[in-house]
């Protein structure tokens, strides 16, 4: 039976629901609720404490990021223990170096949760909507995350953060991957890399079966329990781009990065 289903065509109209489907559905809902409650607790109690306790702006930023990382780590632990998902994160000890630009593909809603939970001290380029959402506004403000609504401001701020020695998480797709579409990287990631990164490290994220993609509401969970595999790749060599004017160099690097991710993600994890 099991061997049979492994060879079943992917397009089978209805896959049999398994891995405690109803429980996973409930716990997926619970995860969203918990995220909301957690964000409220952080926003109302912990982050105001960080803001009030006297410290330099840099210290407050670092504390806010630490608080957030620990919280998200607990959240990942919750989802894992409740059976919502399983995951493995290979090579994560190589993340969090000063001035490191961490580039990741973006197959699911919670990729950023994983990266923020496991990369110490990192900033992140995130959508501007998080500054308008009352649940997330104080966190992204105090942690000095960078908003992506104006390309010019984003590039300048991201480069400044890297020059300052902060690690920075960036999703070159800009938004979640469209399932069954080729990757499309925004060139700003390559541009930021060449401007200011001390090192550029890819993180390849695979989710099987896919879940929480751009095309799905939260309650359409997969028939099987999803497994997240995050693999930290080798640093990208930027030497070939040096001495070339930035507009050309960033186009080259962007194509190289996109090819790198396409090749890597085609392989089984």
């Amino acid at each position: 039976m099991a061997a049979h289903s492994d060879f079943a065509p992917e397009v089978s109209p209805v896959e049999r629901r398994r891995d405690a489907y109803v429980w996973r559905l409930l716990m997926t809902g619970a995860s969203f609720v918990l995220f909301g409650i957690g964000a409220a607790v952080f926003g109302v109690v912990l982050l105001p404490l960080v803001r009030i306790i006297p410290a330099s702006r840099e210290h407050k930023r670092a504390r806010a990021r630490t608080v957030m990382r620990r919280g998200l780590r607990l959240f990942v632990g919750f989802m894992h223990r409740m059976g919502v998902l399983t995951y493995e994160f290979r090579g994560r000890e190589r993340l969090g170096r000063p001035g490191q630009l961490v580039l990741a593909n973006h197959p699911s809603l919670i990729d950023v949760v994983f990266l923020l939970a496991f990369v110490p001290g990192a900033g992140c380029v995130v959508k501007a909507g998080l500054w308008r959402n009352p649940l997330t506004r104080s966190a992204v403000t105090l942690a000095e995350f960078i908003r992506n609504d104006s390309t010019g401001d984003m590039i300048v701020s991201a480069a400044a953060a890297l020059h300052d020695g902060q690690p920075l998480i960036f999703f070159p797709e800009g938004t979640r991957t469209r399932p069954r579409q080729p990757l499309a990287f925004h060139r700003s990631g390559a541009n930021i890399a060449l401007r200011a990164a001390a090192s550029v490290t890819p993180v390849y994220i695979r989710v099987a079966p896919t879940t929480l993609t751009k095309a799905e509401p939260w309650h359409r969970i997969p028939a099987r329990r999803p497994h997240f595999t995050l693999v930290v790749g080798e640093d990208v060599d930027l030497q070939a781009c040096r001495g070339v004017p930035l507009p050309l160099a960033s186009r080259d690097l962007n194509e190289r990065l996109q090819a790198l991710f396409e090749a890597e993600l085609e392989r089984p994890a």
Partner: protein, 82 residues
């Protein structure tokens, strides 16, 4: 003090070098996005060059109203004469 023609000539040189454009296409009326295919990321690289030429700090704000090469000349002139 530089004339607009001199500034345009410098911009022409910069655009040719950075974006491998043809000098003849770079006229004051040429639109950066539509005619020269310079996008919002390129504009940041261009800002760096303007900063180098003028010795002034240039922000994305300075570039918000830049649509044509002529607008770019105007921004350069303003920065140089500040």
């Amino acid at each position: 003090m530089q004339s607009d023609d001199e500034i345009l000539e410098r911009i022409r040189g910069t655009l040719v070098q950075l974006f491998q454009l043809k000098a003849a296409d770079i006229t004051p009326a040429a639109r950066l996005y539509e005619d020269l295919e310079i996008d919002s990321i390129d504009v940041v690289d261009l800002m760096d060059e303007v900063q180098r030429h003028t010795g002034r700090k240039v922000t994305p704000e300075d570039f918000r109203s830049v649509h044509t090469v002529g607008d770019l000349v105007a921004v350069m002139r303003r920065l140089l004469h500040q």
